[in-house]
Symmetry: C2
Subunit: 446 residues, 2 copies
């Protein structure tokens, strides 16, 4: 649905929420899928969110809760009556509990587990063997599977009754549950009914290992051009499947996490998280950045005497810092993308450095002339113009080189360059910029 | 495939590229899909890239070229012999030409068009009726379609022969090509062979309008839980279909574009684009940021006399600016996500402002105490500590409010807040920070 429709529903809901109008809720339920209902709930302040959630039909309450981002769902769980949750747990399945487990309290999780039947409990336990960045944790643990000896006729009867979503192959396992292969459904048309299904298995069908990274697995599914891939454990036992729909959600989550990370935020951050919690979450990032800012200040402090005599240097400091920061972040962004795509290697690092150096030199000289001229005219000092020009050239070139070295080194140290690259880079460009500018000023303007 | 494997192949290729080793290329072709080959080519400096591309089997050359990001593909096209391209155009289809059209020169495009048969030409012309942000442009223009009167037997015979990828429904149109509906393939098992296919059509099946935005359409396909949706023109004529695999690619492209945009870059930017072109692309963003930096400088310049007397103010300026910028970008990032998801409306703006104000107040006071104490101790002036503390509180709170107002206003003005939000926000926080800090300094420290 269009985002503008959602905004209208939010306005509508917030204006009516006090009136307790069940017919409105029913209309909204009919017009919106679970995804969209979850987005709507996230957009409401916590009290309204809980009120709306309580009015949803019981069959929707758990799925919508499982779909919401963790922090937003947690706010609902904390606010509603525990008894109400207990009644919902009656028809909980393993996959929903996996989605909810991070937001349930320990006693609620125990309660929910106790209520599940043994089959679901076993699926849950099997998923728990894998970390939550592994595909074994998040794949669909109840795929449609037939034993290798099954006759084609039996499979056809089964498919006439049930047809899971995202399915154009039948997955086949042997009597021990070991992966045998996949049969394209269209091969069943006109096939001999008494044939064993295993005789129609496609020769090559890609698969995922349960320990594979979830985001890499999503990309593997997409590039395989299959609708879903089997997920196997180390002994080739089929433990589930990852379909392209789930892969799409995973990719969206990764993109969101990456953008939120640039501001030091978690992708689960709730629009209406409690003030104390939100302030605490953000304080850490502010603290990290404060240290780098004080470091830059300390370098400026080395030139206190110069600043006192040539106050124009203080006025122009933000220009030097800003140009270095922007030029550096351009190179950094390009390199971080290349690293994520596996495109940066030892062998192409040298030509990349040479290219970025030349781009930096060109833009450095161009903007040095512009900024030097403006500064010289503004403060009626061509010496100052020359000093800031030289500082700009030095800062833009070193920013371009740091834009390559910082993320490549972070990657080597197994630190996510998308998260911490920009704060380290800015520290480098700030310090280089200030030292070059104030240092040259000390040498030539006093 | 794993990104580390790709890095190894790049190292390998760049070390062997001069040796002209066709057996290596063959091995790589066998191990990599078209997507991965395109990523490999993008990672090579232009000369090596052209050399490797020329050694690919002819049947892979066009598909790999079409898969590459525009700038990287353009570099190949510019470097290779036109005659070589001409021979490749022999078996060009409409969808490949659509991918290539932005990188082909006008004469090459004409040549390619001239070589296509009339059916493909018509498909190309039909796609061209839609802008390149519309799903009618990018959908698959050759979906498997059967006329409504077709007997089930005939459809079964067809499906036994061909089965397109990403397909679990047969699309049905009437004699004029108007959309009738979709038949789930499993309904064909055991269906009466002389039945007309139209009698098995599902009652409700979602569809896309050809003018719908491509990214919104990708989300619609994903949330529909169907593998592919039909794309209809305004008269309900079926013009193509959008499958989840293409939707996945579109989403990846959108995420990449959004991250590149934060540094003022295009998602088509080539790792090894020509130095002049790259420098020009980046100069614009540097220029925009320069203007905002000079604006900040101008505000600092108003306090020149103060800076001359209390040089510690100059030393500490980066701290004030940095804290405001970081706090503002945290709120901005949260709000930009909310806007993209349609979660920010008139009705929840007030509670959002109130929450962010309180978060800003808490973090403002916390960090004012920390920074005030450090600054007071460093410069042995508790007056200075009080001044910077007050400036920090003012700047963090105003940053939080600007973090909401700036993107909401940009969205109203139909300007992408993900692109320009952060540069405007930083300008606001810089100016508020400097004016508060230097203004309070002027009042209380002289």
């Amino acid at each position: 649905m269009q985002t503008s429709d959602r905004q209208e529903v939010i306005d509508d809901l917030l204006s009516k929420v006090d009136q307790d109008a069940p017919e409105t809720i029913q209309e909204i339920e009919q017009a919106h899928g679970v995804d969209s209902l979850a987005l709507l709930l996230e957009a409401l302040p916590v009290n309204d969110r809980v009120g709306f959630w309580e009015q949803l039909s019981p069959s929707l309450q758990l799925p919508v809760l499982a779909e919401m981002r963790d922090d937003a769902g947690e706010a609902v769980i904390r606010a509603v009556d525990e008894a109400q949750l207990h009644t919902l747990f009656a028809d909980l399945d393993a996959d929903t509990l996996l989605e909810l487990q991070d937001v349930l309290t320990e006693p609620l999780l125990e309660e929910a587990l106790g209520r599940m039947d043994s089959e679901q409990k076993q699926r849950y336990a099997s998923a728990q063997q894998y970390a939550d960045n592994q595909v074994g944790h998040w794949c669909d643990h109840q795929p449609l599977v037939v034993p290798a000896k099954t006759k084609v006729n039996v499979v056809l009867r089964l498919l006439r009754r049930v047809m899971p979503k995202y399915c154009d192959h039948v997955f086949v396992v042997d009597s021990r549950g070991i992966w045998v292969g996949a049969v394209p459904i269209h091969k069943l048309f006109g096939a001999d009914g008494v044939l064993k299904i295993s005789e129609l298995v496609r020769e090559q069908f890609p698969s995922l290992n349960a320990r594979d990274d979830i985001y890499t697995s999503a990309d593997t599914v997409a590039s395989s051009e299959e609708i879903a891939l089997p997920v196997l454990d180390d002994g080739n036992m089929l433990i589930g499947r990852l379909d392209l729909g789930t892969a799409y959600e995973m990719q969206a989550e990764r993109a969101e996490a990456q953008i939120m990370a640039t501001a030091g935020l978690d992708e689960d951050e709730d629009l209406f998280s409690p003030v104390m919690k939100s302030a605490r979450n953000r304080a850490l990032w502010l603290g990290v950045n404060l240290m780098t800012a004080f470091l830059a200040s300390w370098f400026i402090g080395l030139f206190e005497a110069t600043l006192q005599q040539v106050v124009a240097l203080a006025v122009l400091m933000p220009v030097v810092a800003s140009m270095g920061g922007i030029a550096g972040s351009q190179t950094l962004t390009l390199i971080v993308r290349g690293l994520a795509l596996g495109q940066i290697s030892k062998a192409n690092l040298k030509p990349l450095l040479s290219k970025e150096f030349k781009v930096g030199l060109l833009n450095g000289v161009l903007w040095a002339l512009v900024i030097g001229a403006i500064a010289g005219y503004w403060f009626e000092s061509w010496g100052l113009g020359a000093v800031i020009g030289a500082a700009i050239v030095a800062n833009i070139i070193s920013a371009a080189l740091a834009g390559i070295f910082v993320p490549v080194l972070l990657e080597k140290l197994k630190i996510d360059p998308a998260l911490s690259g920009s704060v380290i880079l800015t520290t480098v460009t700030d310090i280089v910029g200030f030292v070059a500018f104030l240092g040259l000023g000390t040498l030539f303007l006093l």
